[in-house]
Symmetry: C2
């Protein structure tokens, strides 16, 4: 029976607006962009393609070619949107604290980043995509993300400087790597390297460990 073929990933593919689609280019463009982001966030990049996006947006795929020049252009548009991610999701101020030392700063940045990534499925998918493929598409996205993140850190950093004798770039790369992989791992399987990551209590443990690591390096 060839029906076994169909694992049939058919959650019925609800279009965003099943009602009448009236002639409105701007709205359609937005619907496409939204559908793309939604699909990417919910399904991941595995089944991300022209057909899927068109289906999700409830319009013909031809419009994606016309309005965005294909999937690449669409991804680029997502990347552009992404520029506003940081300022939407992560607070810009110090939360009323006084960040006196570089260690204070990094602790706060790390915890903010952890929470922000936990709360944003799209961002997680993009991070996962980044370490899984090397296409032009994902490279663009990756760049946009890293730029946004970098500028956020720069803004928060103010005039604080890392302690002498510490390669802050390398250390911070490791710290942010840790956060990203931890969150990705948790999003897929509710655990990471034997550490359960389900309940709020679990996450508190992770946050404590993260603090400890940051403080261990920066004091």
């Amino acid at each position: 029976m060839p029906s076994a073929n169909a694992v049939l990933k058919k959650p019925i593919e609800t279009p965003v607006e099943p009602e009448k689609r009236i002639r409105n280019r701007a709205a359609t463009e937005q619907a496409i962009l939204d559908a793309a982001k939604r699909l990417l966030a919910e399904e991941g990049f595995q089944n991300f393609g022209i057909n899927a996006v068109a289906r999700g947006a409830g319009c013909d795929k031809q419009l994606i070619y016309r309005y965005y020049g294909g999937l690449d252009g669409l991804v680029e548009a997502i990347g552009t949107d992404l520029g506003s991610w940081v300022k939407d999701r992560i607070p810009d101020d110090t939360g009323g604290m006084f960040l006196l030392t570089y260690g204070d700063l990094m602790e706060r940045l790390a915890l903010l980043f952890l929470d922000a990534l936990r709360a944003d499925p799209l961002m997680r998918r993009i991070v996962a995509w980044e370490v899984s493929e090397n296409s032009e598409q994902v490279r663009r996205l990756s760049e946009a993300r890293s730029r946004a993140l970098g500028s956020w850190i720069e803004r928060m950093r103010g005039s604080l400087v890392p302690p002498k004798g510490i390669d802050a770039v390398a250390v911070n790369a490791l710290i942010f790597s840790a956060i990203q992989h931890l969150v990705l791992s948790a999003a897929v399987g509710d655990q990471c390297a034997g550490l359960a990551l389900k309940t709020a209590k679990d996450w508190e443990k992770a946050a404590t460990a993260l603090r400890r690591i940051v403080r261990g390096v920066y004091g």
Copy 2:
């Protein structure tokens, strides 16, 4: 022109043995397994499928169904093989050092793991796969990997115990997460969060930062 369709990922798909395939089940099974691992390591899980493996093994896909019960069974076989990964790739002894403290141990483990992962493309792909999908296939693989890794750590640990008051499970999860994401990131784009990871010198920096982090927590 529909030829634009074909981005034509055609490195000519060299079969392992282009010469005569003589009747030899064991050899064919091995060829399939090897092709699968090779494909996974070199191409990633994106284009990993029955057809690709059969092509790579130079045999008909029907044999994969016959011998392994389909892709799932094949992946499971890879997972079984994986059990021997650790003892093949990572030394079991202390390298002549005396590991006096838990910090000594973790520093050595971290650096060993970093190098091992850097040297093993298949393992990297699997790690990337783990954080990108949640299918049954990858779950099996993930389990096999984590079990192998856990037992290795247990074996190396000996009688050393982490310092009191430190949640070693959480801290170690973060440390290993950091390593994994760093290596994955480097494998894709030769850098991670602004840290270049190309030359041996770059990696030495990363290793130093890693040491610093471990020592910062465990002393």
